[in-house]
Amino acid sequence: MIGKLDITTLQQLWWILCSVVGSLFLFLNFVQGGQTLLWQVAKDDREKSLIINSLGRKWELTFTTLVLFGGALFAAFPKFYATSFGGAYWVWILILFTFIVQAVSYEYRKKPNNLLGEKTYELFLFVNGSVGILLIGAAVGTFFTGSNFTLNAYNQVAWTHPLRGLEAAFSLFNLSLGLFLVFNARVLGAMYLVNNIDFKGLPQFEARVRRSCLSSFLLSLPFLLYVVVGLVFFDGFGVGKDGAVAMVAGKYLGNLLAMPLVLVLLLAGLFLVILGVTRTGLAKSTTGIWFGGLGTVLVGLAVFFTAGFNDTPFYPSKADLQSSLTIYNASSSHYTLTAMTYVALAIPFVLAYIAYVWRLMDARKIDERDLADKKAY
């Protein structure tokens, strides 16, 4: 059946698949959010260790999802991979930098003789959760605000801004999206910790974590508001009937109205996040993460779908509108997309064993016994 799909269907299918991976990454950012909560909610060494060991069992999933996101975009939309990574050079390099320092921090933080000291590794984790996520948000923001590149007849990229991608972080919209993601990650981080740690005998610690969920959510609201207002009122990039890209008034609002399902995803997602916040911040429930997590995935999907579907270039160029990338002109060949779709059939199995192991490992919450282990972080 897969062998018979036409190229347009495959291109759309792969945009959906990439969106799913990207949205799952946003959910798994609870790890990064938790990292930025460390100094705020943990008041002693034991509380810190509980947080680190709780997050430490999951950080690799987030990291791997980011790598897969890159790999999937490379395989399905190589022109985007080449244009964005090669063009918006510094924004991606700095994002990578924050993930490189994250990768050693869990393992090395508590080990004797670790050269940099415990505090430095904690700082690495904080930088990853704040600067890293902020820049990822700014990079995703350029899906709507555009970037400064041109492509020549051989599709070689030239960047027209001297900051080489970092300029993305200086747009109010991109910055707002980035900060929203940072605070949303903290919301999710608090939800996850409440779910994962055994707080028996530590009521104040639990109260601080729950409070941080609520406060992070409130802090995220102005940025969310700015992003939503921007999407509703800004001119957007649209592909006309003749295939030419032009600025279209109210383009992204138009997309949401033209694709009611996406609008439903967005609203349902926001509702679920709020539900998760109330369960974690205002009630005593430990299940907030599932609502917040699913909600984040739905919002993520809505964002990516708005950027890529309904005759919208998902990676628009401000410098040269006609260089803008759509899911149709940036994709791999029919053959490659078909082959990769067969590969993608494995994704449900991957998700299944991840879920199975997650349940198995989290059947008992993280407590003192885990910290006593010699392998504890």
Binding site: E60, L61, T64, L66, V67, L68, G70, G71, A72, F74, A75, P78, K79, Y81, T83, S84, G86, G87, Y89, W90, W92, I93, L96, F97, F99, I100, V101, A103, V104, Y106, E107, K111, P112, N113, N114, L115, A153, Y154, N155, Q156, V157, W159, R164, S332, S333, Y335, T336, A339, V343, I347, V350, Y353, V357, L360, M361, R364, R369, D370, D373, K374
Partner: protein, 510 residues
């Protein structure tokens, strides 16, 4: 296509060399030690003896320290193709992206998921499931090696694809040809088996250190026994797959073979240089003797490369200047045809843009005649297709000598271990510690042979490295080079300090 600044290309090259060789400091141990941990734990589960559990946990601690920095230095490689080599990423992304994505789906998640069980699941899962997880980490790590090596092999031997003049890129036609190419099979088997040797030597080196210090004697002896069996079998297999790699090179990358064998003038029934020193300053076509001195094995190279006594092996100069007797076309002809292909492609593009279908069709027909030489069109002189011979030659020979030596070393360790005479054989133990570093260097040198030996090509015969980079300006690339250099140096120092401390602490006491 627009030409790129060579200074910038060389900085991008330097950065890739830095990050790849850095990453490779940690990969062989991951590939080898993961299986050894699985062996150790299997023995524990089979025998139920606590000492094997302690032993397993000790090696897992060292594995974890190494694994973390392996992950950290690995992520940069996945994205570096885009940041520093965007022309490359665009031109071959249709083929090259697939194995990277498959690696993510099939390998990385196995590692990430089961790593958590392996480290934190001792009390949370059953004995059987824990053992299963340890095996999955080993299999997942080696699967990720498979996919990245498939991608690398395709660069060395581009198959299963065609050039699309409309998009100006290469497109995949047959994924099975890409995955099952003889280069991929040889590369995967040789790289993983040699990494098993490095992993085994890591265990032997640390254990030898303990025996020399008269500490943890029982654990060290047990570890050496398992590691030397694994190391010996892997070492023999490494030699076998190395021979296979050279045989495959003869047909897919004859220039690389000629470079690492130091063969300037080809012949039928060529000898192989077993020991030799290259003439310093020797250049292609300057008429100097290639070797200052040499000891050769008659017909060795013909046998290695063609499996025949009298087979023909082309030398560097045959490949550069052509050899009509053996039907070899010189690089000058290829460059000329390549330049025609580039001009015809540009004409085709211009005609398409102008809407002149007839002119476009004619240009395309002309292009198709010479399209296999497209990459040569970016060369300026025939000698440009010769890789740096000395570094390729010496790296190769160092690798072969050390590889051979290690096989005998493993044999001695196995023999001493079986007859329980390890502790008193202090010379062997000292050699065990030192050989780890020799093998490490040999493993890195293998990559020098593979990657320096295929210069100047990013994609063999199709895309020169100098056309593959991102047009970004050398200042930016210098900046990131420095950034990664400092960061990785600090992280490496931290890793070594932590590792040495853990080795000093040793396993938990019973």
């Amino acid at each position: 296509m627009g030409e790129l600044d060579l200074g910038m290309v060389n900085w991008a090259r330097a950065q890739f060399t830095l990050t790849a060789m850095y990453h490779w400091l940690f990969v062989p141990i991951t590939l080898g030690l993961s299986f050894l941990c699985a062996f150790f734990e299997t023995i524990y589960v089979r025998t139920g003896k606590e000492e094997w559990k302690r032993l397993t946990k000790f090696w897992m601690t060292l594995f974890g320290i190494n694994f973390a920095i392996g992950v950290a230095t690995g992520i940069i490689l996945e994205f570096e193709f885009g940041t520093n080599w965007s022309n490359y990423s665009w031109m071959v992304g249709d083929i090259f992206g697939a194995p990277l994505a498959i690696e993510g789906i099939f390998a990385f998640f196995i590692e990430a998921t089961f790593f958590a069980v392996m480290f934190f699941g001792w009390e949370r899962t059953s004995k059987g499931f824990h053992l299963f997880s340890t095996w999955m980490v080993a299999i997942g790590s080696n699967l990720s090696a498979l996919w990245i090596l498939v991608a690398n092999s395709w660069m060395q031997y581009p198959v299963g694809m065609v050039f699309n003049p409309d998009s100006a890129r290469f497109e995949m036609q047959n994924i099975w040809e890409v995955i099952l190419s003889p280069v991929a099979v040889a590369k995967f088997t040789h790289t993983t088996s040699s990494s098993f040797v490095v992993g085994a030597l890591f265990v032997i080196a640390v254990s030898s250190y303990y025996l020399l210090k008269k500490r943890h004697i029982d654990m060290a002896k047990k570890s050496i026994l398992v590691a030397s069996v694994f190391g010996l079998l892997s070492g023999l297999f490494t030699a076998f797959t190395g021979d296979e790699s050279a045989f495959v090179n003869a047909s897919t990358q004859p220039m690389k073979l000629a470079a690492y064998e130091g063969l300037y003038k080809g012949s039928r029934g060529a000898d192989i240089v077993a020991f030799g020193m290259l003439t310093p300053g020797k250049k292609t076509g300057d008429g100097q003797e290639p070797f200052a001195f040499e000891i050769s094995i008659p017909r060795g190279l013909a046998l290695l490369a063609t499996r025949e006594w009298n087979g023909y092996v082309p030398g560097i100069e045959d490949l550069v200047y052509g050899n009509s007797a053996e039907g070899l076309v010189g690089a000058a002809d290829k460059i000329e045809r390549g330049k025609k292909a580039i001009a015809d492609l540009a004409a085709y593009k211009a005609a398409r843009k102008a809407g002149d279908d007839a002119a476009g069709k004619a240009a395309l027909e002309r292009f198709n005649v010479n399209k296999d030489y497209l990459g040569y069109g970016y060369m300026t002189r025939p000698e440009e297709i010769v890789p740096p011979v000395a570094s390729t030659y010496y790296s190769f020979h160092y690798m072969v000598y050390v590889g051979t030596f290690i096989i005998f070393l493993m044999l001695f360790f196995l023999k001493a271990g079986l007859s329980d005479r390890l502790p008193e054989n202090r010379l062997l133990l000292r050699l065990g510690v030192a050989s780890f570093f020799l093998a490490y260097l040999a493993s890195e040198m293998g990559w020098v042979v593979a990657e320096v030996g295929r210069q100047p090509w990013a994609i063999q015969d199709m895309l020169p490295v100098k056309m593959a980079a991102t047009n970004i300006g050398s200042g930016h690339v210098q900046g990131t080079f420095l950034l990664f250099f400092i960061l990785f140096a600090v992280l490496l120092l931290a890793e070594i300090k932590i590792m040495l401390k853990q080795i000093k602490i040793g396993p938990e006491v019973a």
